[in-house]
Symmetry: C2
Subunit: 716 residues, 2 copies
C-alpha cells in the first residue's frame, strides 16, 4: 500500500471512518464538494482543497450592482410574418429567471429577416410586454430579434438547483469587465484567503465566464456549448475589442444564425481574434487573484469546466495566470490526455468516476459501482500509460462509498496501480512509433478537444469521430493538433501521418478551407513525398471543381452526392490487406453512405444493397487505401472507440506511415504494448477482464509469448 | 378473344406459326427487330413497321465526309502536376474507336487547373502522341483537357456490338448540322421511302443526336446520361447559338467539371436556352423527314430512346415535327405515363417486357418468363388504369417466345385485358381525388422523368425518390410537373399538394434555388392558406440562414448537418396518426440520417441508436407531419415503390390536401380503386397474386365488401 497523489472527498458526517479510508487509499489531500462540509481539522488528512467561485456566490454584491451582471446575446424564436407587422415575444422560449433583456443597450440589438439573412430597421421594443414590433415586414418571411440580456442566474447553479430540487437563493452573476466589480473580486479574494487559513489549495470553480448554457422556458437545457464565448458579450469587451482591433462585433457575431458559434462552426478570423482578446482579459484578471493566493501561501488550481471560458489551457495566454494546477473530470482516455498535457502548471489532477452520488451508490448496486470503476479505470489507464496525470481523486459523498467495502478496496488497488504507473514512467517519454497530427480548424488551441459536444456528452453524429481521439489517447503515437493555417505552407517535418476527420463543412473536416489551393497542394506534396493521410467520414469535403472530397485523388475515394450518378464506377471489389488482416467485422459507428472508390484505390470493405445485384455502380465503400507517389492514404467511414477499432487505427497509422507494425507491439487486440526507452521497460497492458496470451514484439522485433491476467499491466 | 392494338415482332424463321400466334394475340401490326427479318408478305399480319436510322447506317456517306461527323467535348483524366510541366494523354481512358480528337477546332479546347477551377493557357497538343503538354503549371495542382472529338462509332451500336460480340462494320456518324449532310439525310429518306413500299410505319430509332454515352478504354460504359446534350457539340451549333443569343458556350459548359450536365445538376439558364435551341434545330430538321414519310403515305413513329436528344416530348417544339406516334419500352408505371401523356401524336405504343431474348427464353425458364410478364404487367397496369397507352407490343425473337406455350397464352390474356381496359376508359378522364405537383428544376419538360439515371436504371441513391413517381403513376391523383420558376410568383390555383423530393443540391431538391425569397414565400403562403406540402429526403435543402431545409418551418423537420448539435432537441416521441394507422413496418429505402423534428411537429416514426439511451437529442426522425396555418405538411426520409408505400403516399396526399380518404377507395393495400365518372364505373384492381377481400368506398363514401381474384380487375 502506497501513499500520496490522491485527493479524497471528505465528509464530516462519516466521522472516524474517513481516516480509515483515507489511509487505505493513501490520500494526501482532502476536498470539499457541493453539499458536503470538510471535517474538523481537515489538515490531518493532508493538503486541504477548497472550492472558490469568482463571479457568483455573493448576491449582496450582485444586487447592489445589477448593471454589472454578465451579458449574453440571445436569439429569439423565428416568427413568421403573415401581415405587414410582426410581433416577437423575445423571451418566449427562454428561462425568465436566467435572463433579463437589457434595453440599456438597445442600439446593439438586431432584428433580422432570416429568410434572406438581412438586418432590418423599423422596429421598437416594449419593455413591459417584452415584445419587439417590426413594421413593414415582408409577408411570409421569418424574423428574429438578437437581444442583449443580463444573466440573472448563474447557469451552473440553475442546473444543480433544478436537478437537485434546491430551494436556496438563486445566485446572480457579476462581471469583472466592469472596473468596479474587478476591484471587488480582488478584494473578495484577499478577504477569503484571510478567512480560510487552513486552505492549501484554492480550487477555482472556475474563473470569469461560464460556457454557454441556456435554459428554456420549461427550465430544461436549451443550448449548451462547452466552448461557447456567448457569456462574454459585455459591451465593455465589445467596445475594447473594437478599440484594440478596429473590429466591431455585432449581435450576429455572437448568435451566429442561432448556432452561437459552437465548436463545429468553422471559426471566422474575427472570432478567433475575439477569443484571444477574452483570453488576455481573463488571464490578466486571474493572474491578480492567483497572486493573492500565492501571497497567502496557497496554491491556485483551476477546475477545467464551468466558467473556464477565456482560460483555454492550450491557448497562448494560459501560462500568464501563474496557476499551480488543473483538475478535471476523467471520462476516458481523451480527458486524461486533455488534462495531463496542459502546459504551465506544476501538476494535473483527475477526478475519477464514478462520482459518489446516490444514483450509483444505492443499496444493492455495489457490483455495478465496481464495474463502472473498473471500466473507467481501464479506459483511462491506456492514456495514463502514455502521459499520466499527476494526481487522482474522487468527488461526492464519501459516506456513500464507505458503504461498499469491495468498492473501497478496489479503489485502493487502483490508487496503488496509478502510483505504480506514475513512478514507473518517471519523466521519461514513452516510445512513440510515429507522429500523427489531427488537422482541423482549431488546431493546438483545442488539443484533445476534437468533436466534443458540451463537455463530452455522447452524441449520435460524432462518437464515430471522437473514437479516433479516444483510440489515440492510448496508442504509442505522438499526437499533435494542427490547424489548417499551420500546414498550408508546408506540413511540419516531423509529422508522419495527418488525420482529417469529420462531417462535411464542420470545423473538423474543414469545409471551404479546402478551396485554398495552398492547403491542398501542401497536403498533396506531403503525401506524394512519402507522408501518410487518414480520412474519416467526410474528410476534405466541399462541393467544388467536380469533387466532393477535394483530396479524393490522395484518398482514392469520393462521396457520391448525386452529381456523378451517370459516371460508371467499376472499383467495387474488396481486396485482402494487411490492415484488415484477421479482422472480420467492422464497426463504422454512424457510418457514411455513398462513398465510392476511384481507379487504383484498394477497397478493404464495401457494402452492397440487398435490393439489387450488379457488378458495378452499386457498392458503397466503407474502407479503402490508396498509394499516392511515395505516400499512402487510408479512408474509413467512421471509427467509434473499441479495442478492434483502436487496433485498426494503429495498423492504418503504421501502414500509411510506412512503419513496420511488429515493433513494441502486442498482437492480441485486448492488449497494448508501451515501451519506456529511458528505463528500457515494456508494459504490456491487458485492457480486458479476461486472461490473455499474446505475442509481444520488442523494440528490435524480437517476439515472445506473454500471458496476462485480467486487467493486468505486465512490466518486462 | 379480341383484336388490334398489338404489334408483334415477326420472325421469318418461325414460318406459319407466326400467323397462329399473331391471331392468338390479336396482332394488327408487325415489326422488325435487330437481328430479325420480316417474313415475306408482312402485310398479311397488318400494318408493317420498319426501323429507320437518320444519322448512322450509311458508312459510305460518312467516309466521304469525315469532317461532318458528330462532335462531343470530352474531359480528359485529371493529371497531377509534380513538376513545372504536365503531360496529359487526353484519350487515355476513352475508347479510341468511339472518339477521334479534332484539332481542327483546337481553339475551342480548354485546359483547366481543376484545383482552383481556372482555365489556363500555355499548352500545346501533339496529334501524333495525343499528348497535351502544359507549361509553367503549379505543382500539385491537377490539370485536365476538355477537347473536341469526332464521334467515329455510334455509341448504341458499340453497345450492341460489344454485348453481342458482333464483327460487322462499325457504324460511323454524321451530323445534319452540316448543310451537306442535312441535304443528304433528306435525300436518303426519300430514297428509302421509295425502296420500301410495304412499310406503313417508319419507326425512327431515333433522330439526330444520341444521348451521352461514353465508353472507356476497355470498351465498357464510362458515362451514360439519357438526358445528355453532349453529342450536340457541333461547332456550327455553338456558333449559331451564339449568333442567335449572344451566349458563347465553351467546352466547360459541356463537360461541366466532368458532370457532363447530367439531369441531377441544376441546369443553368444558358444550358436551358441551348437545349431549346437544339430542340428547334432537331424538330425543324425532323419535320422535313416526317413530311417525306407522309408524302409516301407512311406514318412517322419516334422511338423514345437512343438518338432522342433535342426531341423532348414534353418540350415546346415537339409538336412541330408532325409525328404520328411514339413508342417506348415499358419498365413500369412511370414509363407508361411518360409515354401515354406525350402530346401532339395520334397514338402511343409500349414495348412490353420481357424482351424475347435468350437471356429469358432458354429451356426450362418458362415459369420465370411468365412471372416476369405478370410482374411487369401488374406494375404497368396501375398506370394504364389512369392513362393507358394506345397500343402494346413486344420485341425480340418471336421464335423464342413460341417455345413457351403458357407464356404465349398469358400474353393473349394480357392483350385482351389491355384492350378491355382501353375500351372501358374510352377518352374519359378517371376521377382524381386531388392534384399534386412534383416541384423540381426541370418541371414540365421532364414530366415523368424525375430521378432517372440513364434510361431508368436502378441506382442506389435514387430508387427511394423514383418510388414516388412510380406510386403516383397508378394513384387517383392528377399529376403535374412544375419548375421552381413556375411557382415562385405563386402556386397555380388548382394544385392541392406540392411534392419536393431529392438529395440536397440536386436539380430535384433544388439546392440554391431555395435562397430565392420569392420561391420560399410563395410556398409558405400556399401552405399557410391551406395547401399541402410533401418533402422526401432532403427537400428545400441548402445550408443558409441557420437552416438546412429552408422550409423547415413548413415541414416541421430539419436535418442536423453538424452545426446545431449543441441545441437540445426534445421532440423525439412517436405519436399515432391516421397516415400510419394500420401500418407497422416502413421501408424508407436509402433513408436519411440526422433528421430532427422542430417543436410542434408530430413524429410518425423515429429511430433510436442501440448505443445510447437518452430522452432527448438522440432520435432520428423518419417521418413527420406538421400543421402550418391552415395547411399541412408531410415529411418522409425516402419512399421506394411498394404497395405499402404507394398507399402511404396516397394517405399523406389526402391528409395534406385535407381530403377525406374514404372516397373511391379500396382499403386493402394490395388493391386500388379507379373511378370513371363518364361511364360511372369503378375498377377495383388487385395488384397481387392472391385472393383479396377489401372494403370499397364509392364516390359518396358508401362502403361495401368486394372479393377479388388474383390479379383481377373488377368493374363495378
Amino acid at each position: 500500500m502506497k501513499f500520496g497523489r490522491f485527493t479524497i472527498p471528505a465528509d464530516n458526517e462519516l466521522g472516524e471512518k474517513t481516516k480509515e479510508i483515507a489511509k487505505l487509499w493513501g490520500a494526501d489531500a482532502v476536498r470539499d464538494c457541493d453539499g458536503t462540509a470538510l471535517p474538523d481539522d481537515p489538515k490531518r488528512f493532508g493538503k486541504v482543497y477548497n472550492t472558490y467561485f469568482v463571479v457568483r456566490g455573493d448576491n449582496e454584491w450582485a444586487k447592489l450592482h445589477p448593471e454589472e451582471a454578465q451579458r449574453i446575446f440571445l436569439l429569439s424564436d423565428r416568427v413568421l410574418a403573415t401581415d405587414d407587422t410582426v410581433k416577437i415575444d423575445i423571451m418566449r422560449s427562454f428561462l425568465k429567471d436566467e435572463f433579463d433583456p437589457d434595453p440599456v443597450y438597445l442600439d446593439r440589438w438586431e432584428v433580422y429577416d432570416r429568410t434572406v439573412g438581412e438586418k432590418v430597421g423599423g422596429w421598437s421594443y416594449d419593455g413591459k410586454s417584452g415584445i419587439v414590433t417590426v413594421e413593414n415586414v415582408k409577408k411570409f418571411h421569418e424574423y428574429t430579434v438578437s437581444f442583449l440580456a443580463r444573466i440573472t442566474w448563474h447557469p451552473v447553479q440553475i442546473y444543480n438547483y433544478i436537478t437537485n430540487k434546491w430551494t436556496c437563493e438563486k445566485q446572480l452573476t457579476y462581471d469583472p469587465a466592469f472596473p468596479n466589480t474587478r476591484e471587488y473580486i480582488k478584494r473578495h479574494m484577499e478577504e477569503w484567503c484571510k478567512a480560510n487559513p487552513d486552505t492549501d489549495v484554492v480550487r477555482f470553480t472556475t474563473f470569469l465566464y461560464q460556457f454557454t448554457l441556456i435554459f428554456n422556458d420549461k427550465g430544461k437545457e436549451k443550448f449548451v456549448e462547452w466552448f461557447g464565448y456567448g457569456q462574454t458579450a459585455n459591451p465593455i469587451h465589445v467596445d475594447n475589442f473594437y478599440n484594440e482591433t478596429g473590429i466591431r462585433l455585432t449581435a450576429e457575431d455572437f448568435v451566429d444564425n442561432g448556432h452561437y458559434n459552437n465548436m463545429f462552426r468553422t471559426p471566422t478570423e474575427k472570432l478567433k481574434k475575439y477569443i484571444e482578446f477574452i483570453e488576455r482579459f481573463v488571464s490578466g484578471t486571474i493572474k491578480e487573484l492567483v497572486d493573492i493566493c500565492h501571497k497567502y501561501g496557497k496554491e491556485a488550481m483551476m477546475f477545467l469546466g464551468d466558467d473556464w471560458i477565456g482560460a483555454e489551457p492550450y491557448g497562448n495566454y494560459f501560462g500568464n495566470m501563474g496557476l499551480d494546477a488543473v483538475v478535471g473530470s476523467v471520462g476516458g482516455g481523451v480527458t486524461v490526455r486533455m488534462l495531463s498535457e496542459i502546459p504551465h502548471v506544476t501538476y494535473h489532477e483527475g477526478r475519477f468516476l464514478p462520482y459518489f452520488f446516490p444514483d450509483t451508490f444505492f443499496d444493492g448496486n455495489e457490483e455495478n459501482a465496481v464495474k463502472e470503476l473498473n471500466k473507467n479505470w481501464l479506459t483511462a489507464r491506456r492514456a495514463h500509460m502514455r502521459k499520466p496525470l499527476d494526481r487522482m481523486g474522487f468527488g461526492g459523498y464519501l459516506s456513500l462509498a464507505a458503504k461498499f467495502p469491495r468498492f473501497v478496496e478496489r479503489v485502493a488497488e487502483i490508487a496503488d496501480e496509478f502510483r505504480d504507473i506514475y513512478d514507473a514512467l518517471g519523466n521519461g517519454k514513452p516510445y512513440c512509433r510515429l507522429k500523427a497530427a489531427i488537422l482541423n480548424a482549431w488546431g493546438k488551441k483545442r488539443s484533445w478537444m476534437s468533436h466534443m459536444v458540451a463537455h463530452e456528452l455522447w452524441y449520435q453524429s460524432i462518437y464515430s469521430y471522437q473514437g479516433i481521439s479516444e483510440a489515440l489517447s492510448g496508442l504509442p503515437v505522438e499526437v499533435e493538433f494542427l490547424s489548417f493555417d499551420d500546414v498550408k505552407n508546408g506540413v511540419p517535418k516531423d509529422i508522419d501521418v495527418i488525420i482529417n476527420a469529420g462531417d462535411a463543412y464542420t470545423a473538423f473536416s474543414g469545409g471551404e478551407v479546402w478551396l485554398d489551393e495552398n492547403l491542398q497542394t501542401s497536403i498533396r506534396e506531403f503525401v506524394y513525398n512519402g507522408g501518410g493521410f487518414i480520412g474519416v467520414g467526410e474528410p476534405t469535403a466541399v462541393s467544388a471543381n467536380g469533387r466532393y472530397f477535394q483530396l479524393a485523388d490522395v484518398l482514392g475515394v469520393d462521396e457520391e452526392i448525386g452529381f456523378t450518378l451517370s459516371a460508371d464506377k467499376y472499383n467495387i471489389e474488396k481486396v485482402k490487406h494487411e490492415i484488415t488482416d484477421g479482422i472480420e467485422k467492422f464497426d463504422y459507428g454512424e457510418d457514411k453512405k455513398n462513398i465510392y472508390a476511384l481507379k487504383g484505390a484498394k477497397i478493404l470493405d464495401v457494402a452492397f444493397s440487398d435490393r439489387f445485384k450488379r457488378n458495378f455502380n452499386v457498392g458503397e465503400v466503407k474502407m479503402a487505401v490508396n498509394e499516392y507517389g511515395k505516400g499512402r492514404s487510408f479512408y474509413i467511414t467512421g471509427l467509434p472507440y473499441g479495442f478492434d477499432n483502436a487496433r485498426f487505427l494503429y495498423k492504418a497509422l503504421c501502414w500509411t506511415a510506412g512503419k513496420d507494425l511488429f515493433v513494441c507491439y502486442s498482437s492480441d487486440i485486448n492488449t497494448e504494448c508501451n515501451y519506456y526507452p529511458e528505463s528500457k521497460r515494456y508494459a504490456i497492458v491487458n485492457n480486458s477482464g479476461e486472461n490473455v496470451t499474446t505475442d509481444f514484439y520488442d523494440i528490435n522485433g524480437g517476439k515472445r509469448s506473454v500471458l496476462l491476467k485480467p486487467m493486468e499491466v505486465k512490466w518486462l
